[in-house]
């Protein structure tokens, strides 16, 4: 008989031990095997993809990266596990009504509730866009990371490291001082989520406010019109500012230097 592969993520060791005990207890009714466990969100990102887990028991309150944001990033995996949230009390459920629609256990967890949640996870369809949208609505703030699925691996890029985002055809390029990543997300929704972090300088480009060092006037010539461009910290690249965005962008530098 096939055992259900479960991954446990909780920052408290006793809580993980308790879940393992319960999984062993319900073994007669529902056979499971624990294929991995992690004490922090970033560890989950590292270990879960290779574990072939079918179900993730995920604590909502974890250091570094919270359970809800973590779940959003895991959804990009090709074989994303079904996620069952576990939390110490339901204030989060009240705050994030959408979460109620997802599977949800309160600590201390009862064996029957755990069995029911696992069975539901077994029969449920793999996480779809509907699921991702619900998670996005359940999140109380902007993400701290962008996630990129690479083969069977997730790369997290901290939002704070991004210098600019540029839309090109179907993809958006994230540029950090270390390199480039491609994500599939409309620039408009990124602009909305991170309004206080990025400013639009051009129809196809958002720039990190904190990275702006100044502006340069480009004289133009040939087919190019004279225009302003943004000078950024951490990259020699200059990004053109559209005439339409210039009034907004030039106000970003507090002392108005150019």
């Amino acid at each position: 008989m096939n055992e259900l592969r479960v991954f446990i993520a909780d920052d408290e060791a006793p809580a993980r031990a308790r879940l393992k005990e319960l999984l062993a207890d319900i073994g007669g009714e529902l056979a499971t095997t624990v294929v991995g466990e992690s004490a922090s969100g970033l560890e989950v990102i590292d270990r879960l993809p290779g574990s072939q887990a079918q179900v993730l028991l995920l604590d909502i309150q974890m250091p570094g990266i919270g359970g809800i944001e973590l779940a959003r990033h895991l959804c990009v995996l090709e074989n994303a596990p079904a996620i069952i949230f576990v939390t110490a009390h339901d204030r989060h459920a009240v705050e994030a009504f959408e979460l109620n629609a997802l599977d949800y256990l309160v600590k201390p967890v009862r064996a029957e509730r755990l069995t029911a949640a696992l069975k539901k996870a077994l029969s449920a369809a793999p996480a779809g866009h509907d699921h991702v949208a619900r998670l996005a609505r359940a999140a109380t703030g902007a993400r701290e990371f962008f996630s990129i699925a690479e083969r069977n691996r997730i790369v997290l890029v901290p939002v704070g490291e991004i210098l600019f985002l540029k839309a090109e055809l179907k993809y958006v390029t994230l540029r950090t001082s270390a390199g480039e990543h491609l994500i599939e997300e409309p620039l408009v929704s990124i602009e909305r989520e991170f309004a206080d972090r990025f400013v639009r300088v051009h129809r196809n480009c958002l720039v990190a406010r904190a990275a702006i060092r100044g502006f340069e006037r480009i004289a133009g010539g040939g087919e190019e019109d004279p225009h302003w461009s943004v000078v950024l910290e951490g990259t020699p690249e200059r990004l053109p500012v559209s005439r339409r965005q210039w009034p907004v962008v030039k106000g970003v530098l507090p002392d108005g230097k150019e």
């Binding site: 060791a13 005990e21 970033l42």
Partner: protein, 334 residues
């Protein structure tokens, strides 16, 4: 049992050993004199002259009375409120009469006039101090106290219960000890918060609390205790230290990804008791928790209820550490 309730309206005489009371009496009397001068003289300069003239007459008995009342405080507190008030007015009258005799011809007003003025001023100050006590009376603060006690984070309760559940099979003895610690903690939380407790009891409470957190967080929580010179017989309002330690763990250790060092240091310096609780300061960001300073404000308020202006509570970020300092006067049951 000493309790904040003993200070409650209307039985409590002002405590003249308290800096706040003394300062209020001084300021009130001088303000009254200023107002009197303002009423008597139409001209600003003349008004100031009148005030200075008066000051020569009322400051000596005022200061002398406050000094004597400071000395008499333990004796004075044995009397009922009203007899105490009579005694206080008597002290003021004696010093006023003495000043009158010493200054002799300098004083324009007659002796009786001075005595009536002194007695009414003393009465006004006593009424003011009584209103002040009433305004901060524990009866009014009680609701807030109860609110604070109900405030232990559900997060902590459920996680602790969960941790105990995980121990029952593996380590039944430790599970028992943890449940006992939890029971003690909740007994203290549900006790009458107006009572004063010995520092020794409060310390054992936070040690139990720390033991539970230790079980949950394991090596992520590294407690260091510096209690060797803690005055264990000092009295303080119940549940002042536990919420601070809970804050330290909740904000400084749990959201962090590394090891969190938490320091508790309690010492006596002269007639002051100094408490310091320190935890790592985590830059606001992923996973950190927003604080609302409710616990700090509440504790400050409770310290003030009992120690008035002689207690101090400060919190600040220093380098990578968040630090709360409390200073209270050393008082023991003896």
């Amino acid at each position: 049992m000493p309790s904040i309730r003993q200070n409650s309206y209307p039985e409590a005489l002002p405590d003249f050993r308290n800096l706040g009371v003394t300062a209020r009496a001084l300021i009130a009397v001088n303000l009254l004199a200023l107002v009197a001068a303002l009423l008597a003289e139409p001209d600003w300069n003349a008004m100031l002259d009148a005030y200075v003239m008066q000051a020569a007459r009322f400051e000596p008995p005022l200061v002398a009375s406050l000094v004597l009342l400071y000395a008499l405080t333990p004796w004075l507190l044995r009397f009922s409120y009203w007899s105490g008030c009579v005694l206080i007015v008597a002290v003021v009258l004696v010093f006023t009469a003495a000043t009158h005799v010493v200054l002799g011809g300098f004083a324009a007003a007659g002796l009786v006039r001075s005595l009536v003025l002194a007695a009414s001023t003393a009465a006004v100050v006593l009424v003011y101090l009584r209103l002040h006590t009433k305004a901060y009376s524990p009866a009014l603060a009680e609701a807030r106290l109860q609110a604070l006690q109900a405030r232990i984070r559900p997060h902590f309760l459920f996680n602790s219960l969960n941790a105990v559940l995980s121990l029952i099979r593996r380590d039944p003895q430790r599970a028992e000890r943890t449940l006992e610690d939890l029971a003690d903690l909740f007994r203290a939380l549900m006790a009458d918060g107006r009572n004063l407790v010995r520092l020794a009891d409060e310390i054992s409470l936070i040690e139990r609390y720390a033991a539970i957190e230790q079980l949950r967080l394991g090596e992520r929580l590294r407690m260091s205790w510096d209690l060797d010179s803690a005055p264990v017989d000092a009295l303080l309002p119940a549940l002042v230290l536990q919420p601070l330690l809970e804050n330290a763990v909740y904000h400084g250790v749990e959201p962090g990804t590394g090891i969190g060092d938490v320091l508790v240091r309690i010492e006596r310096r002269g007639d002051r008791v100094l408490v310091r609780i320190e935890n790592p300061w985590l830059e606001p960001g992923p996973g950190t928790r927003a604080g609302n300073h409710m616990a700090l404000d509440n504790i400050r308020e409770r310290l003030m209820l009992f120690f008035d202006d002689e207690a101090r509570l400060e919190s600040r970020v220093e380098g990578a550490r968040y630090r709360v300092d409390i200073e209270i006067p050393y008082r023991s049951r003896a």
